[in-house]
């Protein structure tokens, strides 16, 4: 009987000890103490041989029962403790998610570059190709071949920066005042159909202020084919305005003058800031002028040996900085070339 009692005692002591354990690492200690090779229950089983056969069976059965009870209790306890541990580790691993993240260094394209690309992409989607030309040009390409001969009154429209030696020389060299010279260079080299856009830097002899720079970009465009009409000029530029300024845009075309086109056009879009009611951006007119255009002047076509009886075309030109100023609400064009990083980081 004493053996029996001691087995029950072991069980209750073991279960008591197990219940007190709160650390999963201590479970093994407990297992060794009760269920290990020299544990208390094992000692009982090992001591069975000294008992009379009857008692041996009874105690044996009892001890085995206790063993399985303890093993099951251990398993359950282990599970409970593991769950508790996991919970603790989850709770201990809570982060302050409001701490700042580690940003990779990010560079940005200059806003002019971004807008130049946007403009070009819009025309590329309409079958235009991007071409570029020299920034230092001959008077011939910048003026003469564009129907602006020497002493033409329209030369006043472009204040020119000349390269030494000056304009009296036989072949005057200048900083191009527009990217329009590429109209001539492209048509000299290729036959119609022509559809090109020409992004690039242009230069003017001009004192700088909030709306004037002496260096800026221009995107020139040219389409020449057998049946290009004024109607298509309008349609193409309208489509451009929809792509850049939104599909709900309205456009307006008015008569303007550039010597290398006839008829000459200026295109405006309805003000995207006020919807046409009038605001500061549109000078209360409800309209924003965004580009000059027109049907290619027959004199220009003759300069490149295109027969104006066969071919017609249109040309246009616009200023990316002006577009960027409109899009982003920039009020001073000088910011573009001041390269103040506090400005550039905003785009």
């Amino acid at each position: 009987m004493t053996q029996d009692t001691s087995v029950d005692e072991i069980q209750s002591q073991a279960l008591g000890a197990l219940g007190a354990i709160d650390d999963i690492r201590k479970l093994d200690e407990w297992r060794v103490a009760y269920l290990g090779r020299s544990g208390r229950l094992t000692s009982v089983l090992r001591g069975l041989g000294a008992l009379p056969p009857e008692a041996r069976r009874e105690v044996g059965q009892r001890a085995n029962m206790v063993k399985s009870v303890l093993e099951k209790a251990l398993e359950e306890k282990e599970e409970v403790l593991r769950q508790a541990e996991l919970q603790r580790s989850i709770e201990g691993g809570k982060l302050d998610i409001t701490l700042p993240g580690r940003r990779p260094n990010r560079g940005r394209l200059h806003p002019t570059t971004q807008v130049v690309r946007e403009i070009c992409d819009a025309f590329v989607a309409m079958g235009f190709q991007i071409v570029e030309g020299p920034e230092v040009e001959w008077d011939y390409y910048n003026f003469e071949a564009l129907n602006i001969p020497k002493d033409h009154p329209a030369r006043d429209m472009w204040d020119t920066i000349w390269i030494d030696p000056p304009s009296e020389s036989e072949k005057p060299m200048l900083l191009r005042t527009h990217t329009s010279p590429m109209q001539i260079r492209v048509m000299e080299k290729t036959q119609p159909p022509v559809r090109v856009v020409v992004p690039g830097k242009v230069y003017r002899y001009e004192a700088t202020d909030a709306t004037h720079e002496s260096q800026f970009y221009q995107v020139e465009g040219l389409a020449v084919d057998t049946n290009i009409t004024f109607a298509e000029l309008k349609g193409t530029l309208y489509e451009f305005a929809r792509r850049i300024f939104g599909t709900e845009r309205k456009v307006r075309f008015r008569c303007d003058y550039f010597p290398f086109v006839e008829p000459g056009v200026e295109m405006a879009i309805d003000c995207f800031a006020c919807g046409g009611r009038g605001c500061r951006i549109c000078s209360n007119s409800g309209w924003i002028e965004i580009m000059g255009a027109g049907m290619v002047h027959p004199e220009v076509l003759r300069h490149v040996n295109y027969d104006p009886e066969i071919y017609t075309g249109f040309a246009f030109g616009l200023g990316p900085e002006r577009i960027a100023m409109l899009k982003y609400g920039i009020d001073d064009i000088r910011l573009f070339y001041s390269n103040d990083l506090r400005f550039l980081y905003q785009f």
Partner: protein, 814 residues
């Protein structure tokens, strides 16, 4: 050009509201840049012309007076603090309830009845500011003596001024009459031309004066009349008012008339004092080399043969078409006047006014090319006004030397030709209607025959532009005339048709844009700097390679900073760095620019070399809550170059090189397959000092994109994913400290079984002998077709070790 609406209405009826008129003008090509209302807010019955009949001291205030204002049968007393008025003056008077501008706040306000120091002011007399027509608030606006007492000020002087931005092709619009013709055409009205009638008397003009044109190429026509017995005085108020409204200063009646007719017709005129013209003989000739003349502004001008002169028997009296001379000017004592109305060659006028920096109202009209038909109209108008307003009598006839007369060229076209340009479907009748409204003479002719027959199918129009339209010559001009009057927005709009041209790529441009993207991806900010620079700025740097002689010089630079075209991107970047550090408070500057530099080429356009360059300084990792800042160093810049080249599909080689702006020993040349494409390194502190940049290490890279473009780009090819496992082993080798890591790497990579190797540690210190360093590599062995055995790896490894020993004196670190 400013236009007075009141004046405009003299020639054409205008019923449209002003804003609508301005809009229609703008849409048809006469851009209205601004509209100024003179008296737009005045109440017709509350703001009147008053006369001060009495001025008394205010009983209770020293600084105030009581003015009794007569407004025609009614007298009111107002309190007034201004001191520029006297009894008898005519002044603007406003009744209580009138809308005015508050003189102090500048805001609109309704005039309230007020008791000032015990006296009730019955309305007020106004300053220009209170009337909303000027900024002057110091005194009362005093009106001309002939102002009608009691009249509404609005009727007396209200007007609308249109500020026009005109294009150089339309000199006819530099005239009120020209704008009237535009208004008539777009509103379907008729123009009332001024009367040109006057009576002549006395001697024949040819007995009084003669004209001789020696250089008819520069003076196609010269007209003149002589008016005798004029009384010089002020021109009438209405004329002065109109001149001032259009921005001209009244001088005297004779000069004012010439200016008035110029503004009316667009034809500049000149009035000479007849009695001061030596021999009463006018000679039009080129200046002689070295000839001088004193113009009206008192300046002596050096002339050349390009300048055209008006001379009398004694010498030059005017710089033709630009400015008169002092000697023959009309003065107060002038009695007889010779009026000149001529046509001059526009190129000669342009060159003269440009060379002498002398632009006048006359030259800016002449230099656009005026019609030679115009002078006679303007002369007659001026002569008529001279008789009417200066009390003179006109000699019989006019002088008219017209050697440059050409028959007006007509333009033949069909409706189809106009529609081909516009993409419209207009009938000949519609086109004719528009052109007739613009003053064109139109005749329908049968196609090809020239025989008039309006009924014939396929008829053509033969049109002659009116004399004032010197800009219409070809059918494209006709198309524009039709389109602008019909309205561009009323014409059809259609998508671009026709065939898309064959694709011709611009690979250089594509490469350049890719470089931009890759540098942005590497964390650099793009900047765009000016293409020009100064010798001073360039002098802060060593001379760029490939530049012999001077950079390209600008002939007319805006400033010394813009005198030369850049030959390097370095100066702009270093200036940008300094600017951002010193003025914009930047601590880390990682920037790049892609752009052209200009290398002069004898007798040709410069070679525009596309470069990419960048600057890196400050922190590559900024200070944060869990880490301290890491400063940029040489290898960060090299990493950027590596990433850039990798993105371009190129494998760069680096070799030590010297560069005048970079520190020796911290500078590397970048090469692709043996060709140098660029350089990078640490900027020399002296260079930084010259640019006023900080003294921290600054790194610079510079790549010649044309040289990059010349390189074969290895096309990206797929390589099959390895099917057999890698073996990764570490290997540390001890070599001389002077041994370049690249030499060790080359030996390691010799075996095709070595797929990659990473240098993960460099050690110098007590554990290796002095003068030596340990380089530790993690080497990956791989075979494409089998699993490598331990023996295979061991044998390659021992081969690497023995080659390191033999070639570099390296030993395995134990």
């Amino acid at each position: 050009m400013k236009i007075s609406l009141n004046w405009l209405k003299e020639y054409v009826d205008i019923t449209l509201p002003v804003d609508e008129l301005a809009h229609r003008l703008s849409m048809s090509g006469t851009e209205v840049g601004g509209v100024t209302h003179i008296g737009g807010m005045w109440d017709r019955d509350k703001v009147l012309v008053g006369q001060i009949v009495r001025l008394d001291q205010h009983p209770n205030a020293d600084r105030l007076r009581l003015a009794t204002i007569d407004i025609g049968g009614e007298q009111n007393t107002v309190v007034c603090g201004a001191w520029n008025i006297a009894e008898g003056d005519k002044v603007p008077y406003a009744r209580v309830g009138a809308r005015l501008i508050d003189g102090h706040s500048g805001e609109p306000a309704v005039l309230k009845s007020a008791k000032i120091r015990g006296v009730t002011s019955e309305g007020m007399i106004c300053s220009e500011k209170e009337l909303g027509i000027g900024e002057d608030h110091t005194g009362i606006m005093v009106l001309p003596e002939d102002a009608p007492v009691g009249a509404s000020l609005l009727d007396y002087m209200g007007d609308v001024i249109l500020d026009l931005d005109l294009t150089p092709n339309r000199p006819d619009c530099l005239a009120v009459l020209g704008i009237a013709r535009e208004v008539a055409a777009i509103t379907g009205r008729q123009v009332r031309e001024p009367s040109l009638a006057y009576s002549e008397s006395g001697e024949s003009v040819s007995d009084l004066a003669s004209v001789e044109i020696l250089d008819p190429d520069l003076c196609p026509r010269y007209c003149a009349s002589v008016v005798t017995g004029v009384k010089i005085g002020l021109s009438p108020r209405w004329m002065q008012q109109r001149l001032m409204a259009l921005g001209m200063r009244p001088i005297n009646n004779v000069v004012d008339i010439t200016n008035y007719v110029m503004l009316e017709y667009g034809q500049p005129l000149h009035a000479f004092d007849y009695d001061r013209l030596v021999d009463h003989h006018i000679i039009v000739r080129r200046a002689r080399p070295g000839e001088k003349m004193t113009t009206l502004d008192g300046l002596e001008r050096d002339l050349t043969e390009e300048n055209l002169l008006i001379c009398d028997g004694g010498g030059s009296v005017a710089l033709a078409g630009v400015m008169g001379g002092l000697d023959s000017e009309v003065t107060e004592s002038t009695v007889n006047v010779l009026i000149e109305s001529a046509n001059f060659n526009n190129i000669s006028i342009r060159r003269t006014s440009a060379r002498l920096h002398l632009r006048s109202e006359a030259s800016l009209r002449f230099d656009k090319g005026l019609s030679p038909e115009l002078p006679m109209y303007a002369l007659k108008r001026a002569t008529q006004l001279m008789v009417e307003l200066c009390g003179g009598s006109v000699a019989q006839g006019v002088i008219d030397i017209y050697t440059g007369k050409t028959e007006p060229a007509s333009i033949h076209f069909s409706a189809a030709q106009v529609n081909r340009i516009l993409g419209a479907d207009m009938g000949l009748g519609e086109i004719e209607g528009v052109l007739k409204a613009l003053g064109f003479e139109c005749t329908e002719v049968r196609k090809g025959t020239g025989v008039e027959d309006p009924r014939s199918v396929g008829a053509e129009l033969s049109v002659t532009p009116p004399y004032w339209r010197t800009d219409v010559r070809i059918v494209e001009d006709i198309a524009e005339e039709v389109a602008r009057i019909v309205g561009y927005d009323n014409l059809p709009m259609s998508p671009l048709s026709g065939s898309v041209p064959r694709y011709e790529p611009d690979l250089e441009r594509e490469l350049r844009e890719k470089v931009r993207n890759l540098l942005v991806d590497a964390g650099l900010q793009e900047v765009l700097t000016y293409s020009w620079t100064s010798l001073v700025n360039l002098g802060k740097l060593s001379r760029p390679e490939g530049l012999s002689g001077q950079p390209l010089k600008v002939f007319n630079p805006m400033s010394l900073e813009q005198e030369y075209l850049r030959t390097t991107l370095r100066a702009g970047l270093l200036s940008t760095l300094a600017l951002n550090e010193r003025h914009y408070g930047a601590s880390s500057v990682n920037i790049f620019e892609v752009g052209s530099v200009f290398m002069p080429t004898e007798g040709d356009l410069p070679r525009e070399q596309m470069m990419a360059a960048g600057i890196m300084t400050g922190d590559v990792l900024t200070k944060s809550w869990d880490r301290s800042a890491t400063a940029v160093d040489f290898y960060d810049v090299k990493g950027v170059i590596d990433a850039l080249m990798d993105g371009l599909g190129m494998v760069p080689d680096y070799s030590p090189v010297e560069d005048g702006d970079l520190l020796a020993g911290r500078t590397a040349a970048i090469s692709i397959t043996g060709s140098r494409i660029g350089v990078f390194g640490e900027v020399h502190p002296q260079v930084l000092e010259r640019f006023d940049a900080s003294s921290r290490p600054v790194y610079l890279f510079e790549i010649d994109l044309a040289a990059v473009f010349a390189q074969q780009r290895t096309p990206n090819r797929y390589q099959s994913i390895p099917r057999f496992p890698d073996v990764v082993e570490d290997l540390a080798v001890v070599v001389d400290t002077s041994t370049q890591a690249q030499m060790v790497m080359e030996i390691i990579m010799r075996s095709p079984i070595v797929s990659s190797a990473t240098l993960f540690d460099i050690y110098e210190g007590p554990q290796v002998p002095p003068g030596k360093k340990s380089l530790a590599y993690s080497i990956t062995y791989r075979a494409p077709d089998r699993t490598l055995t331990g023996e295979e790896v061991a044998s390659i490894r021992s081969r690497i070790i023995s080659q390191l020993e033999r070639e570099l004196g390296g030993t395995l670190r134990s």
